[in-house]
């Protein structure tokens, strides 16, 4: 122990946090295996990696949400034993999670002081002092709001800043920001960066997790790359190139990436047929402000844009989930689409972005999950035609190579990639004309990703039309025949393959009269 300590001090005297050989398994599945992380006081340190690389798990171990299965954590050289979020906070580690860990129903002040409220002489909470303290901290970030109002009545950006204010009020030594900018607009991001610089100047370290590489170059000092539950490397940001970071994240050679492309999709080579769907100037309460696009037979049309640009909203509107307040969606046969059931009946399928919340019925079998959307077609005298159902399910299990112990296995026991294939099978089984794919390969491993992309390509060759939403640029750039770029709920431009490049897409997405020159390239 002494020797170890000596070693630590000798090597890296200034480390605020040091995590070594961290391992974590969930019910036999390895999530982390020999992960490392060291953070110095007053630095902004980024962690990057693909979905499933283990970033979140590592953070949650540091903040006491999970317990590690192996490894050591030290703070200022001393072993750190944290088993609850409370202990992490008391040790000076504050976290701002992607899904905000605040209580929107309660006031701003409560969210800042909760658990550490100032007291009056009688031991009761002193709200006057609490409000004052909250106002004072927020003022440091240039935020002037009514702190007695419900937190939920403010924008996400303000909520984010309130979360940071809470961290500051707790005298945090380390503030962890998990995808902090994913729902902010450009100006709000500037405010956030200013706050981060303020923190840095006062000696507070920031651990920054983001999908946006450009942000990293703007504010981070060092970057740690993770892949498959392991730490690959840590660099000074100034000494890296984007391509180098990407190749380390993917575990592939940089030159190979440039040559071969990243996906199994390739758009712009087929002969599209007649127009199947035409959305004209569609508007909705969910944020669409005039989006137009068409989709032809045997075509993949990508919807490009930043988060909040209206991609998912456009898909939902086409599928009849959110009512239109203006504009029209026309199918070749002209029927109105006002419910998912109507859309399905018209031959549209919708593979949603959030597999867990919107896709799988966890306790149901693979069989039941596959046939869920086509029950009306399997109906015979009110009952499900079991024989036809089994044949159909077996066909898709074979065709999509779904790895399952059998069609009766509950879907929750399958891996993410196979769950996604089951959901794809659910829609393909309907033999749709149009399939809307919202982040079809998110959160699945690389192998399954290629398989899913190949299936999609094959189906398109056979006559399917696809509306594709993806935050993975390669999927759009390489896969789509055309990309409709959305901004603030409007369609602004359209790019045609072959010939679309990543930089052209980024340029189209970022170019905006109000806020020029903010490039954000998500991975």
């Amino acid at each position: 122990m002494n020797a170890l300590r000596f070693l630590t001090i000798g090597n890296d005297m200034t480390d605020l946090i040091e995590m070594e050989g961290i391992g974590k398994t969930f019910a036999g599945i390895v999530a982390l295996n020999d992960a490392r992380l060291s953070i110095r006081p007053g630095e902004v340190h980024a962690i990057i990696g693909q979905n499933g690389a283990g970033k979140s798990t590592l953070i949650k171990i540091l903040t006491g949400v999970y317990r590690r299965s192996a490894g050591d954590v030290r703070m200022n050289g001393a072993p750190l034993a944290i088993s609850t979020p409370r202990e992490a906070q008391d040790a000076g580690i504050a976290t701002i999670y992607q899904e905000l860990s605040l209580v929107p129903l309660r006031s701003v002040t409560e969210n800042v002081v909760m658990g550490y409220e100032p007291r009056t002489r009688f031991g009761l909470i002193d709200w006057t002092a609490a409000h004052a303290r909250t106002r004072e901290i927020l003022a440091r970030f240039g935020v002037d709001i009514d702190v007695t109002r419900q937190l939920g009545s403010y924008s996400t950006a303000v909520q984010q800043l309130v979360a940071i204010a809470r961290a500051v009020s707790l005298d945090a030594k380390l503030v962890i920001m998990d995808e902090a900018t994913s729902s902010l607009d450009d100006q709000e991001i500037e405010t956030l960066f200013a706050v981060i610089n303020t923190l840095k100047a006062t000696g507070v370290a920031v651990l920054y997790i983001s999908h946006f590489l450009d942000e990293l170059y703007r504010i981070c000092d060092r970057v740690t790359i993770m892949r498959d539950g392991q730490t690959v490397n840590t660099h000074r940001v100034a000494e890296t190139t984007k391509l180098g970071l990407v190749s380390e994240m993917l575990g592939r050679d940089a030159s190979e990436i440039q040559a071969a492309g990243l996906t199994a999709l390739s758009g712009g080579h087929g002969e599209p047929g007649e127009v199947l769907l035409e959305a004209t100037e569609i508007r909705s309460k969910t944020g669409l402000r005039g989006a137009s696009f068409t989709l032809r037979r045997r075509e993949i049309v990508g919807l490009g844009g930043l988060l909040g640009s209206g991609r998912t909203e456009a898909a939902r509107a086409v599928f009849g989930l959110d009512p239109l307040t203006g504009g029209t969606v026309r199918l070749s046969n002209g029927a109105p689409l006002d419910t998912p059931a109507a859309a399905i009946a018209m031959g549209i399928g919708f593979l949603t972005e959030d597999r867990k919340a919107d896709g799988i019925i966890p306790d149901m079998s693979v069989r039941e999950n596959i046939t869920l959307a086509m029950l009306p077609r399997l109906k015979r005298l009110g009952a499900v035609d079991r024989e036809r159902e089994r044949k159909l399910v077996q066909h898709y299990i074979d065709a999509l190579q779904i790895k399952t112990a059998g069609m009766e296995q509950p879907i929750r026991e399958l891996s993410g990639g196979n769950q996604q294939k089951v959901l794809l099978a659910r829609w393909l089984a309907l033999e749709p004309e149009i399939l809307i794919l919202d982040e079809p390969t998110r959160g699945v491993d690389v192998g399954a990703k290629f398989e899913i992309q190949s299936i999609i390509r094959k189906q398109v060759a056979d006559g399917l039309s696809v509306l594709l939403i993806s935050s993975e640029f390669e999927e759009l750039v390489e896969g789509a025949d055309r990309i409709v770029v959305l901004q603030d709920g409007r369609s602004v431009t359209e790019l045609h393959n072959p010939g679309v490049t990543e930089s052209a897409l980024i340029g189209a997405m970022a170019h905006h009269a109000d806020a020029p020159d903010t490039k954000r390239s998500p991975l």
Partner: protein, 331 residues
């Protein structure tokens, strides 16, 4: 951003604004009663109304805390029946023993609920359903399924009958003290705020480092204690421990809490509005009595349940309109 105002208004109404309606309704009903019935504002009516409703108010306030965490306590009626028997048995030793004894019994059953919900992770609905049956059985066992007369010679009888400060019965003062104390707990102590935070988002509260389990244990024990006190009032008000009473009280209490604007999912609500809700539901019966007393119409007592149900329906309709929220853009 164009419809910010309407969203804000809705959010406001979703929050504290909910309770506004119950106060308006309460004032309207009281004004109606005062104008229509001569003796409505009389000392006798006020005293007997509050004396009778004291136990329901106490139970509703305890229930309010449980519901604020997003839970529910179905056992309160049975617990009150059980502790009324305990109080009756202890009444010969005087109020100074019977009252704490019965409240302690209530706290203990609340502790069992807390154990089930927090340690065994049994859903509150089922856990408290079980203690409801258990407490009912317990009440019948210890009483031999008989009402247990209190000791008329002891000072226990003073609780519901003797007026404190020549004003109102002691039970009303005790209720008021409990209500005020719990109001302070909810508004001004960290356990109270934790209760609200847990209901507003249990995971978030945990991430913020709040003691989620401690808050849950607290509310179930508190609710048990409140039911225990209600049992004391029950015994003193009826002159006997009532093992068969308390049926459906839990649902009346939930109705009071909901009418008071507390979200059943937790996170938003107040002690004051809950008391207002309980008073409002109680007044329905009171008004009905007066109306029948006038002899113009004759509504049977059975109508009061129908009307209470109607009240609940109206409040729920209002709430469901208010809490409809447009979804923001996602991605």
């Amino acid at each position: 951003m164009s419809d910010t105002f309407s969203i804000d208004l809705r959010r406001y109404l979703r929050g504290g604004g909910h309770s506004f309606g119950v106060w308006v309704a309460l004032v309207v009903v009281i004004v109606f009663g005062l104008m229509r019935y001569e003796n409505f504002g009389g000392a006798y009516n006020i005293s007997s109304f509050l004396n009778y409703n004291a136990m329901f108010i106490v139970i509703a306030v305890g229930m309010c805390f449980v519901i604020l965490t997003g839970g529910v306590d179905l056992s309160v009626g049975s617990v009150a029946a059980f502790t009324s028997v305990v109080a009756a048995y202890l009444s010969p030793f005087g109020i100074q023993v019977a009252l704490p004894g019965a409240v302690l019994a209530g706290l203990a059953i609340g502790g069992i609920n807390a154990l089930f919900v927090v340690a065994l992770r049994i859903p509150p609905f089922i856990a408290t359903l079980a203690t409801m049956l258990g407490a009912k059985g317990g009440a019948l066992v210890i009483s031999g399924a008989q009402t247990i007369a209190i000791d008329w010679g002891s000072n226990f009888t003073k609780l519901g009958m003797e007026k404190a400060f020549d004003l109102l019965p002691w039970s009303i003062f005790i209720t008021a003290a409990v209500v005020i104390a719990l109001w302070i707990v909810l508004e001004r102590t960290s356990i109270g705020r934790t209760v609200l935070a847990v209901g507003g988002g249990e995971d978030a509260a945990g991430m913020m480092g709040l003691h989620v389990n401690r808050a849950k244990v607290f509310v179930y024990i508190l609710s048990g204690g409140c039911a225990g006190l209600a049992g004391v009032f029950l015994a003193s008000g009826f002159g006997a421990g009532q093992p068969l009473e308390g049926i459906g009280w839990e649902l009346s209490a939930i109705a009071s809490v909901v009418v008071g604007g507390t979200l059943l999912t937790g996170g938003v609500g107040s002690v004051g509005a809950t008391v207002a809700g309980a008073l409002l539901l109680g007044l329905v019966f009171n008004i009905l009595n007066f109306e029948n007393g006038r002899g113009v119409i004759s509504l049977s007592a059975y109508w009061q349940m129908v009307i209470r149900g109607g009240f609940l329906f109206a409040v729920i309709l209002l709430q469901s309109q208010l809490s409809r929220q447009p979804k923001g853009p996602q991605g």
